[in-house]
C-alpha cells in the first residue's frame, strides 16, 4: 500500500484508508526473526564491511595510530603519556589509573566544591599542590599566573595535549635541561602547535609526545620513528 500524502477524503463515514490490518498472532515470527536477522546484519555485517573498506584505506588509524621506534611501540599519536624528566614537556595531571593508564580511562569526578579537589588528600595531589609543584619545576614566582590545564586532570586521563600557554611556560626548563637555546625550543613548539581545526573547531593545542619526540630526534639524531 502507499501511504498517500493527499488530503484524505473527509466525506466518507468509513475508516480511511481501507487497508488490510495486521493480526497480532502473525507478529510473533517477525518479532523473533527481526531481532536475530537484524542483529546479524548490524552487529556482524556492518562491522565486517567497515573493516573491509577501511583496513586498506587507513591502515595506520585502524591500528590505533601507533608510533614505532626500532621495532618497538613507544606509544600512540592519540594517547597521552606521563613525563617527569625536566628535558621533556610534561603532560597534564591524569586520573587514569596511576596516571596515563591506557586501560583505565576516566577523570577525577570530583565536584568543584569538593575540598579534595583543591586541597588534596593523602594519596591525591590537590590543585594547590599541583600549582606549587608546577611553579617550582619551571622556576616561576609563587604568584605567577599559570594556565588551568596544567593543574587539572582531563576527562579521559589520557589527554595527549597541553595548551600553548602551558607549553610556553615549560620552554625555559626544557631548553636548560637540554642545553638548547630557548629560541630553538620555542621554534619546535610553534612547529608542532595545532590551531583550531578549520579555523574554528576546538581549541589550539600542543601534542606533548609528538613534541618531545621531535626534540629528541633533533638533538640526538637518534633512531627515527616510523608511523
Amino acid at each position: 500500500m502507499s501511504d498517500s500524502n493527499e488530503p484524505a477524503d473527509s466525506t466518507g463515514q468509513e475508516m480511511f484508508p481501507p487497508v488490510p490490518q495486521a493480526k497480532l498472532s502473525e507478529q510473533i515470527r517477525p518479532a523473533i526473526l527481526s531481532v536475530l536477522v537484524l542483529t546479524l546484519l548490524c552487529g556482524c555485517g556492518f562491522p565486517c564491511l567497515l573493516f573491509a573498506i577501511t583496513w586498506p584505506l587507513f591502515p595506520r588509524q585502524t591500528g590505533g595510530s601507533l608510533i614505532m621506534r626500532g621495532g618497538a611501540v613507544i606509544g600512540s599519536d592519540l594517547i597521552g603519556q606521563q613525563f617527569t624528566r625536566p628535558e621533556y614537556f610534561q603532560s597534564r595531571p591524569s586520573a587514569a589509573g596511576a596516571g596515563y593508564d591506557g586501560t583505565s580511562s576516566g577523570g577525577t569526578n570530583l565536584g568543584p566544591n569538593n575540598p579534595k579537589l583543591k586541597s588534596g588528600a593523602a594519596d591525591f595531589a590537590g590543585i594547590r599542590q599541583l600549582a606549587a609543584e608546577y611553579r617550582t619545576q619551571n622556576g616561576l614566582r609563587a604568584d605567577a599566573p599559570i594556565p588551568i590545564d596544567a593543574v587539572t586532570r582531563s576527562g579521559s586521563g589520557l589527554d595527549p595535549h597541553i595548551t600553548p600557554a602551558n607549553a610556553a611556560l615549560q620552554i625555559r626548563r626544557v631548553a636548560r635541561a637540554r642545553g638548547l637555546s630557548e629560541e630553538a625550543v620555542r621554534r619546535r613548539v610553534a612547529d608542532h602547535t595545532e590551531g583550531r581545526q578549520f579555523g574554528f573547531l576546538g581549541s589550539p593545542r600542543v601534542p606533548v609526545l609528538e613534541l618531545n619526540l621531535a626534540l629528541d630526534q633533533m638533538q640526538q639524531g637518534g633512531p627515527s620513528t616510523s608511523h
Binding site: N5, M15, L24, L38, C42, S105, G111, I148
Partner: protein, 562 residues
Amino acid sequence: MRWLEYIVFLLIVVGLAQPAGLYLARVGQRRRTFLDPLLCPVEAVLHRLLGVRPEQEMTAGVYIICFLLFGAGCAIALFLVLIFQRWLPGGPVDAYLTTPMTKDLAANTAVSFSTTTTWQAYGGENTLRYLAQVIGLVAQNFLAGAAGLAVGFAFIRGIARERSATIGNFWVDLIRSLLYVLVPLTLLGSLVLIWQGVPLNMAPYTLAHTLEGRTQTIAQGPVAALEFIKNLGTNGGGFFNANGAHPYANPTPLTNFLGMLAIAVLPASLMLTFGHITYRPRAGWVLLLVMVALFLVGLVVCDWAESESPPQLAGLHILGGNMEGKEVRFGVGESVLTAIVTSNTSTGSYNSMHDSYQPLGVLAPLVCMLLGEVVFGGLGAGVYSIVMAALVGVFLGGLMVGRTPEYLGKRIGPGETRWIALYSLLTPMVVLALTAVAVGTSAGRSGLVTNSGPHGFTEILFAYASSMTNNGQAMAGLNANGVFYNLTTTIAMLAGRYGLAVLALALAGRLAAQRRLPITAGTLPSDTPTFGALVFGTILLVGALCFFPALALGPIVEFFQH
C-alpha cells in the same frame, strides 16, 4: 571563537533540517528515494525473510505490541550475549576485564542499550570483550535507534491521518529506518571518524615502552564500529569508560563536531517531517524554533558557568575556564556544546566529566533532561516529546480562550487530555520517587563514593533523570554498579522508553481515528510566534513546577554554598 562554533553548529542543524526532513518524510511515507535502486531489493528480501507483510497496516494497539515485543527480544538477546561473553573468542584478555559482568549488571546493560539509554554502570575497556561490544552493543545502537524512529513516524501519521484505524506497520518502519537512514549515514560517518584516527581492530591491548622507559598498556578494539552510530541513533554509550573524552573515541575537534551534528540533525529535521506530513509546514518550523530557543538558553547558562575562572580557585593565580574533567583539544567550548547537545537529545555521549562542572554548569544539562528531552530529543522520541509539550500548551491556551482545545485540526478532548496528562506526569513521578528512595536508603547513599552533600544529591537526581529520559550520561562519581542502582535505573529506563512511547502511540491512535476540524475564527493557530511563545513558556513552567524543589536541593544550593 566558542560562539562562532556554537552558531555554525546551529546554522548547520537548521539549514539541513529542511532537506533532511523531506527525505525522512519520504522514508516514513514509503515514497521513492534516490536510494531505491540499491535498497528496494534488500528491503523486499528482508520482508520475505522475516515474514513481514508490508501491505498490512497496524492499529495503535498492534503497533505498540510489536514495538514492545521487539524491545523485549533485543533486551533478551543482548542479555544473553553479555552473560555468555566470557566464551566469546578474541580480546581483550581476561586480566584486563576487572569489572565482572554480574547478572544485575548484564540485565541493566541489556535494558540500557535496547532502550537507547546506553547508561553504563561499567567501564568499557575493563568489562567487555570486543565481540560483545560489536554483536551486542553496536547492533543494539542500530536497532534501538531505528525502533525509536519508527515510533516517531507512527506518531506523526497518527496526527496526520483522519478517520484511520491504523498508524502504519512497525516492521516496515523499522526496516526502512535502518536501511534508508541509519546504515548508510553510519557507513559514511564512520569513514570520517577512522580517517581522523578512531581505531578499528581486534588487536590485543598494546604494550608501549614510553619515551621515559615506562610501560603503558593501551586499550584497543573495534572502536569505530560503535562511535558514529552511538550518536546518530541518539544512544550515546561509548566504547571506553571515558566515552567521548577518550582520544581514541573522539580524537579531534572535527570528530566531536560531526558527532554533535549526527545527534541533532535528524531529530531537528523530524520536526519539519512532522510539519510536512501533517500539511502544516509552518507548525513544524514553529516547534523547531522553540527547540532552538530552549537550546540557546541552556547553552548560554552552561557556557557562562564553565568559561568563568572557577571561583573555588580564586587566589591561586590560575588562568582559564573550568578544565577539570575536560580535554584540551575540545576546550571549554566543545565541551559545553557537547554537554548541551547530548543532554537535550537523550544521547549520553559526553566528552567531559559533568561531575566536575560548576553547579550552574551541571544545572543546565540536568534541566535539559528533566524538561523531557524536548529540544531535538531522541531520534523519533523528540517528535512526540515536543508535541506532547505543545499539547499541554494547547490545553492551557484552550482554557484561556474558553474553547475546546484543538491542534492541527484535531480535537483535544477529555480522552486525549488524559493521555497527555499521564505522559507529562510520568517523568516527574518516576524521577522524583526513585531519587527519594535512593537518598532515603543506605543502599542508595552508599553510591556516593566521591562527592557528598548537595553535589551528591545532584548526582543521584542526575542518574534517574538520565535513565528516565533514556539519555545515559552520568555524573560518574556516583558508583552505580551495584544491585540497587542497576535495578532502580532499569525501572526508570523502562518507564522512560516504553511508558512514554506507549502513551504517545495510544494518543496517536485516537487522533488518527478523528476527523480533521475546519479552521474557524476560534481556532488557536499553531503556526505563529505567539503559539511558539506559548509552547516555550509551557515547557519551562511545567518543568519548574515539577522539579524546582529538587533542583533547589541540588545544584542551586551548591551554587549558593560557595
